[in-house]
């Protein structure tokens, strides 16, 4: 069964100076999938990924990455995984070519010169191989980092917020590249907190404050979250939005262009609210719709913020 899983961890736990940063996380990444790892800042994504590739020793739990034990076989994992760190961590004082060459040597690749030339060409950086990596723009740095951890043709890519702080065009290019790799059979685990990236994933796990809240195939997520959503358009949306937000039976109001998406996990209560508004004001156009990943995502984000607020209050 684990044969078709690139990553499979159970009860993964990490404690930093008394604080449980990753709390009993189970995760299964099927081979060949693009797996989105979502969660707000500080939720434990980086720590989880580091444990998966043997860079951190778990304080609890166990798991296998590409069939190798994450505690005992870190080296075998490292040989076959490409890990792109959250912060750009190639050598800024080496040139692009020197960085790529260094990485190729770390994996003892044959025909290094040819491999590096190829990578440079794929990147579209043939002419700029002698430029210092530190002088590249944010988007180019990300692409270089991705290319560098891809060179040894790993079977699994762990990408930690690869597009943070990168402009939209560069992000689109980046995702084109990820999909291309995925088509070649590479498994990609990518952490992000961009919603538009989450919708491109085959699978999703959502983590908040070290706890995994939900995971599964992307199309099942809205259902798992259990949201009912109504879409409304028409005039004077702003007062409507304010009024809906004030209604305790409405859990979430999100604006999408000239529409509002009104959601709740309590379908019955929400239907009542909508029925009242239809009676009160006939100018709005209401349609019940299938909840989508966007709404689910916003819901999860808002919820984890709530958790934080409560723990904050309790603590003080």
């Amino acid at each position: 069964m684990t044969d078709d899983l690139a990553v499979s961890v159970r009860g993964l736990t990490k404690i930093f100076s008394g604080k449980t940063v990753v709390d009993a996380v189970d995760m299964e990444v099927p081979k060949g999938a693009i797996y989105g790892f979502l969660g707000p800042n500080g939720s434990g994504k980086t720590t989880t990924i580091r444990m998966m590739c043997g860079l951190l020793t778990p304080d609890g739990g166990e798991g296998r990455t590409l069939g190798h034990d994450i505690r005992k076989e870190a080296r075998a994992i490292k040989e076959n995984v490409g890990y792109m760190t959250q912060k750009f961590s190639l050598y800024g004082d080496l040139t692009i070519r020197e960085n790529l060459d260094f990485m190729a040597r770390m994996y003892r690749m044959k025909n290094r010169k040819q491999v590096v030339d190829e990578t440079l060409r794929d990147l579209g950086l043939e002419g700029r191989g002698d430029q210092l990596a530190g002088t590249l723009s944010g988007g180019w740095k990300q692409r270089l980092a991705l290319a560098a951890c891809m060179q040894h043709k790993p079977r699994l890519l762990l990408l930690d917020e690869p597009t943070a702080g990168v402009d939209p065009k560069a992000r689109r290019d980046f995702w084109d590249e990820i999909r291309r790799l995925s088509k070649q059979g590479v498994t990609v685990l990518v952490s992000t907190h961009y919603m538009d990236e989450a919708v491109q994933c085959d699978y999703i796990a959502y983590i908040a404050y070290g706890k995994k809240l939900i995971d599964g195939p992307a199309r099942d997520i809205p259902h798992k979250v259990g949201l009912t959503t109504w879409r409304v358009d028409g005039p004077d949306l702003i007062p409507l939005e304010d009024a809906l937000r004030a209604d305790p039976r409405v859990q979430q109001v999100a604006r999408f262009g000239a529409q509002l998406h009104v959601s709740s996990t309590d379908a019955k209560a929400l239907d009542d609210v909508i029925a009242e508004w239809k009676k009160k004001n006939g100018t709005h156009h209401w349609v019940k719709k299938e909840a989508e990943l966007e709404e689910a995502f916003i819901y999860l984000m808002a919820n984890s913020d709530d958790n934080f607020g409560q723990t904050g209050k309790r603590a003080s």
Binding site: K87, S89, Y91, L94
Partner: protein, 377 residues
Amino acid sequence: MNIFSLARFGAVLAKEFIQMRRDRLTFGMMIGIPIVQLLLFGFAINTDPHNLPTLVEMADDGPVVRAVLTGMETSDYFDFQGIVYGPEEGDRALREGSANFVVVIPPDFERDVVRGLSPEVLVSADGSDPIAVGTAVGALSGIVETAIKQTLNGPLASYAGSPPPFSVVVHRQFNPESLSSVNTVPGLLAVILSMTMTLITAVAIVRETERGTMETLLATPVNALEVMLGKILPYVFVGYIQTGVFLIAAEILFDVPFLGSGWAFFAGFNIYIVVNLALGFLISTLVRTQMQAMQLSFFTILPTILLSGFMFPFAGMPGWAQAIGTAIPATHYLRIVRKVMLKGAEMADIAGDLRAIAVIGAVIVLISLLRYRQTLD
């Protein structure tokens, strides 16, 4: 797969060389520090100890006394600034530093000279400033002898050619043993190498942690030994350059001799450099920031300067200090350098010292390999 990979070691080595070459400031410092240190210390060593303030306590007066004092004054080493009455006054002047010497002419000096009783002229020297007073003290007996010979005529002519009719006793206060300048310069090599080698390695490694590149490095299959050797070796060459610069400067500026075997010197300094680089590696496993690495490196410099025999004679230190000193690589290297450069030692003469450094080095390497984390924990 866990075995040592030449390819990866080579990659770390090449990378380190490139980074070193591009880091102009550090590179400049590595070459500049030995020169600056040598000049600073050399300046102190070379300070012409002329016109040192001197006081006289005169309990007697006469032709011999005057001849001695005139001789001292014309030598240019001593500058008589006045007369003191009683030993307390002389002691106070030495303690305050207002005088470097107090010359004491005992009562009935002239009479005792004539009677052939060979009285003593006491010269109290401020031993806490040994470099300053050393040369003057060394010149003292010659000066006095010459002065006497010129004066010994008339009734005292019979003494000419025989041993001086009185003796000069030099009493160093505060620091009974003294450094000699030739001793200081070779010792300086031990201190400079220790300081720069340790610091540079520690900083070069911690910089990777600070900049985040350590994470990328650790995510590759590279192992501790490959990283350690790859990071250390480039700085061995820096050590070569520093030593070369140092030896040339020592020869040109201070005429420090090199009497012993070049091979013995070469063996000693290679092993000494490696030990210090390993120490830097060890420090890097103990700290998180470059600032901490610098502080800890400087912290190790203190015992190196104070307890290695560089500053104070090793044999004169209390037992506990000698025990600590024995564990310091510089202590043994210092002996090697002094033996080879000044006493003409061959390989066999320094074997014991080499062994001692090797043992210390093995311990340091072992601890740092054990402490080196393959993870970010």
